[in-house]
């Protein structure tokens, strides 16, 4: 009791900054006497590092799309700087609101502050339209951190991916700021564009949804979409940048390659079925490079907390995420991006998948022993 009195009420916050700067001096008290150098801070920072190529390319692409759509003659650095300046407030709001709630919750629970939000806070600005009003973003972040993470007990206990729920919150609460063909290209912060009406710049996904392969190839080539010179959420457009991140995640073992490969395989399969069944004129591999499919497969579906945890379960989970996402894209009259809902739905079913895998394994073992 005497010890407890000595620690000030804000100790979670103090500890958070202290251990951020220096490794804690705690020594092992029970169990193994030596421990691996890895901790959750390192794991989380790896995901943020993996997201950096997407973020950098996204910033450049924000400027590029504005410049192209409104006929501004910007150079490379002007495009990048516009994107950087436009994106910074989103990151600041995302981290300020999210971390404030994280710190407060840790304080209330009397625990150390968890690192999970380092990743979530970086993901959210990359998966929303760049011109989303900051108050909406703040609201979405607050909702998601409070009701998706903290009420379940914080990082490691949540059922759904908090970043995706923030996006879903925005999508269903403020559809006019989140969908349609005029939200994807930023114009709000260009002084010369004041009073100019927003020019419609549909994403490839929307074009293909309405006009099929012919309309799409008239505007964007496959390589445009592969490199990412297309309108869309900031982080999702470039396949190259996402693959760089994917290589780091798989290399370090932070994210499961089984989920990534499974998801792509599921997407290709349903895309192919849709093509031969006449639901779409797009070749199946277009499904992978368009919209948020790849970004979701690499960075969102692989979240170790909300994904399936058994090895077989990861395959099933991955394939179903990819397959469902393309099913929503192809057989759906209004809404053309299925990745967000596919992942959230599979997050819900991940424990069920694991339960089936584990039960099957136990039964198999029981049979094997009964025979022996």
């Amino acid at each position: 009791m005497a010890d407890q009195k000595k620690t000030p009420w804000w100790h979670s916050t103090v500890d958070a900054f202290d251990t951020f700067l220096r490794v804690p001096g705690t020594v092992t008290a029970k169990g193994a006497h030596v421990r691996d150098g890895i901790d959750l801070k390192r794991v989380m920072i790896m995901v943020v590092v993996a997201l950096v190529p997407c973020a950098l390319f996204g910033m450049y692409n924000v400027g590029l799309q504005t410049s192209l759509t409104y006929g501004l003659e910007w150079g490379f650095w002007q495009m990048f700087l516009y994107g950087l300046v436009r994106m910074l407030p989103l990151f600041v709001v995302s981290y300020l609101v999210g971390l404030a709630i994280e710190f407060a919750s840790a304080q209330i629970r009397g625990e150390e502050v968890n690192e999970g939000y380092l990743v979530t806070g970086f993901l959210i600005p990359l998966i929303v339209p760049v011109d989303v009003p900051l108050w909406m973003l703040a609201l979405a972040v607050a909702f998601s951190v409070l009701f998706v993470k903290e009420v379940f007990g914080g990082t490691g206990m949540n059922i759904w991916n908090p970043a995706l729920v923030a996006r879903a919150f925005l999508f269903f609460s403020y559809p006019s700021s989140m969908s349609g063909s005029s939200v994807w290209v930023s114009k709000t912060w260009v002084p010369t564009l004041k009073g100019v009406d927003a020019v419609s710049a549909a994403t490839p996904l929307a074009i293909a949804h309405d006009g099929g392969m012919d309309a799409l190839s008239a505007q964007y080539s496959f390589m445009d979409m592969f490199y990412g010179f297309i309108p869309g959420s900031t982080g999702e457009t470039s396949v190259v940048a996402i693959l760089l991140g994917a290589i780091l995640l798989v290399w370090t073992g932070v994210a499961s390659w089984k989920i990534m490969v499974g998801s792509i395989a599921g997407g290709l399969l349903v895309g192919w079925l849709g093509q031969i069944g006449g639901a779409t004129t797009l070749p199946c591999y277009y499904q992978i490079v368009m919209g948020g499919f790849l970004f979701g497969s690499v960075f969102m579906a692989t979240d170790p907390v909300t994904a399936a945890q058994t090895e077989t379960g990861k395959w099933i989970y991955g394939v179903l995420v990819g397959a469902l996402a393309v099913v929503v894209r192809l057989w759906n009259p209004g809404y053309m991006e299925g990745m967000m809902l596919a992942i959230l739905l599979m997050n819900t079913f991940a424990p069920l998948i694991d339960h089936c895998v584990v039960t099957a394994s136990i039964n198999r073992r029981a049979k094997k022993i009964a025979k022996a």
């Binding site: 490794v23 169990g31 691996d36 901790d39 794991v43 073992g253 584990v358």
Partner: protein
């Protein structure tokens, strides 16, 4: 006749300070401690008082629930002190050794029958070297086990080289195996390391079922071997014995005297001269090794050994001491630095994989703060058993007996999941969780 078992999963922790294969000292200590705390589950009843004379093999402590279980003195001498802790808990009986070196003659001949072997093992105190699975408690003399398992090698960090410690005592080892064979109808399973198969004397073991095992730690753990060779089901019992104690049993049945002399490996980054010391259990640690200030002395290996203070005594099962620096220093920006050459990590988030042969001067720092489970794939990578570690761990946390049974609680001891402690980025105490689960099983199943 031999069976091969190649295990792919696991991890060898690259710790500095392996013992050189030489005996640098022979220590017959002045005082020896007989400790009931070495034996999990033993309820001690004191059989001697201060001033009593004891011989090597004389009973000192018995078990309250089963008086046939005896803890005996490893030396001859007089009882000098009874050490008690809180609530008068019996911690140790200190015996002052005399030069006579007299031992009780248990009067056993080589071809004794099962009952005689059992009786002599119980009277000599060596029965306590038989560990029962499930639960890792003292074997029940009333039960006939399904089989008995002996792993002749250890893959634990800096573990003693049994070829060196027991190479000259192979006859004892064989005699021990023969005696153990009388205690079960299922035979004695002996695991031999594939890496040293042709060099080790153990591959010549007779009257046993040989298994050739290869793999990283915990391939040498007897529990892992059992789970592949003949998994333990509910209601079954298997006994395990360490090779060092098999040799002691062998010497007992061939000479009729209790002789617990052993070569103890003094290892670790902070050991002044990593090498072997010949001594007996109960020897004061300070007679065996001098540690600097701020060094932790561990009885056993770094994964599942117990912390021994400077005034502690070597345990009954210990054949290794590991010396580590207490890692109280705080490293600036530890987790954020791209390179940390002094810290080992099995995760590819760091760069230890670039230097696979490098040995590290590890300390006892936790390298992080405790968190909820996030990354759990790493547990499976270091657990070469047909179980789902994370589900077993969670069942233990929840105290759900039915689930613990399903997920394989009968097959594991904390030592088999010790590597999970090491690799977990969330710094959970996996061994303690499993221990708690096993304790609950013992309580509920009794």
């Amino acid at each position: 006749m031999s069976n091969t078992l190649d295990l792919k999963k696991g991890l060898d922790i690259p710790l500095k300070g392996a013992a050189a294969c030489e005996v640098t000292a022979k220590v017959l200590p002045e005082t020896v401690a007989v400790k009931p705390t070495d034996f999990p589950g033993l309820l001690p009843r004191l059989l001697v008082k201060e001033g009593d004379r004891v011989l090597a093999g004389s009973p000192v402590i018995s078990d309250k629930t089963n008086p046939a279980l005896l803890v005996t003195s490893p030396v001859s001498g007089t009882v000098a002190e009874i050490v008690r802790g809180e609530k008068r808990k019996l911690l140790a009986v200190l015996v002052k050794t005399d030069a006579a070196g007299e031992g009780v003659d248990f009067g056993i001949t080589k071809n004794a029958d099962t009952d005689t072997i059992k009786d002599v093992l119980l009277r000599s105190g060596l029965w306590l070297s038989l560990v029962q699975r499930p639960y890792g408690v003292i074997a029940d003399p009333a039960v006939k086990p399904k089989s008995i398992f002996v792993s002749t090698f250890s893959t634990a960090p800096l573990a003693p080289d049994t070829d060196f410690t027991l190479g000259d005592r192979f006859a004892d080892f064989q005699a021990g195996i023969d005696a153990l064979g009388r205690l079960t109808d299922g035979g004695v399973h002996v695991a031999v390391s594939k890496a040293v198969y042709s060099k080790t004397p153990f591959h010549k073991t007779e009257n046993a079922i040989l298994h050739v095992v290869s793999g990283k730690h915990p391939a040498g753990n007897v529990g892992v071997q059992i789970s592949h060779i003949s998994p333990i089901q509910k209601g079954e019992t298997v006994w395990t014995v360490s090779p060092m104690l098999v040799a002691a049993i062998g010497r007992l049945v061939s000479t009729g005297k209790l002789d617990l002399t052993r070569k103890v490996a003094v290892t670790g980054p902070k050991a002044p001269h990593p090498s072997y010391v010949e001594t007996i259990p109960g020897a004061p640690v300070k007679d065996l090794v001098q540690a600097e200030e701020g060094v932790r002395i561990i009885g056993g290996d770094v994964l599942c050994g117990e912390t021994l203070g400077p005034d502690a005594y070597l345990g009954f099962f210990h054949d290794q001491l590991t010396l580590l620096k207490e890692g109280t220093e705080r490293e600036w920006f530890g987790w954020a630095k791209p390179f940390r050459p002094k810290v080992h990590s099995s995760s590819w988030c760091y760069f230890s994989w670039l230097t696979p042969g490098k040995k590290y001067e590890m300390d006892t720092n936790l390298h992080g703060g405790p968190r909820a489970f996030v990354e759990t794939q790493c547990f499976e990578d270091v657990t070469p058993m047909d179980i789902f570690p994370i589900y077993l761990i969670k069942a233990c946390l929840a105290g759900d007996i039915e689930k613990m049974e399903k997920f394989g609680i009968y097959e594991v001891l904390p030592e088999d999941l010790a590597l999970c402690d090491y690799v977990d980025p969330s710094k959970n105490e996996i061994q303690a969780i499993i221990r708690k689960g096993i304790d609950l099983m013992i309580k509920e199943m009794a």
